[in-house]
């Protein structure tokens, strides 16, 4: 199906452990992500998926273990730093600027790409204006890509849920990330919205060549769009492999069926 070529390992997680007080959220988790890959982290509720994502984008700092991204090693980076390195993310409970328009939201995603000084901006000087236009164009391309032209000037808070998710994806894309983390992108969607979202996720991967890490509760969707899947349960990795392997893995089946959380 795809002409993109999965490349070298770009992100590796090595023996990461994270605990809140006495509660272990992650225990000795290791896996890697290759360039241009769609990598899924799945697991039942409370398996530590969100914690893992938060570690990757610098919200949580693991007590043990290392994270290596594009050759550099990090133990404690904050989320602003992660953003500067080219890691963007979306949130499970949509963290958009609800009072701002779709266009403005996407433009905020380009914040790190804009460099004109405060004074230039305050005085609306040529360079600032040019920069604004150039980035507006990039934002418009994303709007076009995600087919949300009709709500360009609508405050995000007024949009239906499915569209908000798309806008959030757009804002993350606006940063031209090397690695995009998607936190349950299909949660709470109906079937049609899910299919749309899948299409966009694949399109992003194909069109922009973005490496994607997505966590998902629902196994079905993920299996169709991921190259490789990591399965977490109770904060430990219980399986790692291509979707076919995962589907037939007894531990995974047990984790999903056997144990009620």
């Amino acid at each position: 199906m795809s002409g993109r070529s999965v490349g070298e390992v770009t992100l590796s997680v090595e023996g990461v452990s994270l605990a809140f007080g006495g509660v272990k959220a992650l225990t000795e988790v290791s896996f890697d992500v290759r360039e241009h890959e769609v990598r899924a982290i799945i697991g039942p509720n409370g398996a530590g998926k969100s914690s893992m994502l938060n570690v990757l984008n610098g919200v949580y700092h693991p007590q043990k273990g290392k994270i290596r991204f594009r050759g550099n090693e990090f133990t404690d980076m904050d989320s602003h730093e992660a953003a500067s390195l080219g890691i963007a993310r979306t949130f499970q409970n949509i963290a958009l600027f609800k009072g701002m328009t779709v266009l403005d939201n996407i433009m905020t995603g380009r914040n790190l790409k804009m460099h004109c000084g405060v004074l230039q901006q305050a005085l609306w000087l040529g360079p600032a204006r040019r920069e604004e236009l150039e980035h507006r164009r990039a934002a418009e391309e994303i709007i076009d890509f995600l087919e949300i032209q009709h709500v360009r000037k609508t405050p995000v808070g007024r949009l239906p849920y499915g569209l908000q998710k798309r806008v959030e994806l757009g804002r993350a894309l606006a940063a031209e990330p090397l690695l995009l983390l998607l936190d349950e992108p299909m949660a709470g969607m109906n079937l049609e919205e899910k299919q749309d979202m899948c299409r966009f996720v694949l399109d992003v991967n194909d069109h922009y060549g973005t490496t994607l890490v997505l966590i998902e509760h629902d196994m079905g969707v993920v299996m169709d769009i991921s190259d490789r899947v990591v399965v977490l349960d109770y904060g430990r990795k219980i399986a790692d492999g291509v979707p076919e392997e995962i589907k037939n893995n007894q531990k995974v089946i047990d984790a999903y069926l056997g144990v009620a959380h």
């Binding site: 963290a95 905020t108 995603g109 790190l112 007024r158 239906p160």
Partner: protein, 299 residues
């Protein structure tokens, strides 16, 4: 009823209202970006005006003094962010509010320590007298200085609106105001933005300080102009620049008209409290203020 006189009262009120708006603007900026009600805005006005007038009195030229004061205000803004706000990140708004009360005393103390506590007169070369052609032709007395202040306020609002709507910083500012966490996640440096907001608020305080200083003299009482801004904020909404302007105009015009036309009935002295009556009445009808944001969220 004498129409010319009515117009005169109305215009006088509106122009006075512009002065309230100037002060309210400083509150709005900070509230919008950080959700903090900055109790110290009044003392920032006082500090700015006192610094400016003291430099003038030491023989500095107008623009030099203005630039130096502006620099001081920007430095103050950055310092406040670094020393006061940063350690209090993620604290409840009431904590931050208390911190700004503390800031008030520090600022008042520091200003008087630096520049002494005696009142100063301030002159910009624009006389606070009625414009002749208006009074001769229509018999309407409107102060030249009031008009000048209105123009300055208008220009200031235009620049701020442009900054907010059309630039990255403005957008970042609105983003921070909307949702701190989300702003962080897209790589908007919160601290940076707060410093900018406080610096801009400092700039607005300086302009307000100069205008009020010319009108009432630069003295400790200047810190009380903040009290005049409160009803304006209630009326206009804490988050809207436009609200601060329109609110100011309504309060200004309302209290002048009340003083002149209702005052005699109740024995005068309305002006000092009428603004609060307007604001309270308004609060009953539209608690979010005239232009305040009604947050529309899908549940």
């Amino acid at each position: 009823m004498d129409v010319a006189f009515f117009i005169e009262v109305l215009a006088g009120g509106l122009l006075a209202g512009v002065m309230y708006s100037l002060v309210a603007l400083g509150f709005v900026l900070i509230y919008k970006a950080s959700g903090v009600f900055n109790f110290a805005q009044g003392s920032m006005v006082f500090f700015a005006a006192l610094t400016f007038v003291s430099l003038l009195e030491r023989g500095w030229n107008f623009w030099l003094a203005f630039a130096a004061t502006l620099a001081a205000m920007v430095a103050l803004g950055i310092a406040i962010e670094k020393i006061v706000l940063r350690p209090l990140v993620n604290q409840a708004p009431i904590t931050l509010f208390m911190a700004t009360i503390g800031l008030t005393f520090v600022l008042e103390g520091v200003s008087q320590l630096m520049w002494g506590s005696q009142p100063h007169g301030l002159e910009l070369g624009i006389p606070d007298v009625p414009m002749e052609w208006l009074s001769q032709k229509w018999n309407i007395n409107i102060s030249q200085f009031d008009l000048f202040a209105a123009l300055v306020a208008g220009a200031l609002v235009a620049v701020l609106a442009l900054l907010f709507q059309k630039t990255r910083i403005g957008r970042a500012l609105r983003a921070v105001a909307d949702d701190h966490q989300a702003a962080l996640a897209v790589g908007i440096p919160l601290q940076h933005i707060w410093a900018i907001v406080w610096a801009v608020a400092g700039f607005v305080a300086l302009v307000a300080g100069i205008m009020w200083g010319v009108r009432n003299g630069v003295q400790y009482a200047l810190t009380f102009v903040a009290l005049k801004a409160l009803p304006v904020l209630i009326l206009g909404g804490f988050e809207s620049i436009l609200g601060a302007i329109v609110g100011g105009l309504i309060i200004g015009a309302g209290e002048k008209l009340a003083e002149v036309y209702l005052g005699p009935m109740v024995g005068g002295g309305i002006e000092s409290w009428f603004a609060y009556v307007i604001a309270l009445l308004f609060l009953l009808v539209r608690p979010e203020g005239l232009f305040g944001e009604k947050h529309i969220d899908r549940v």
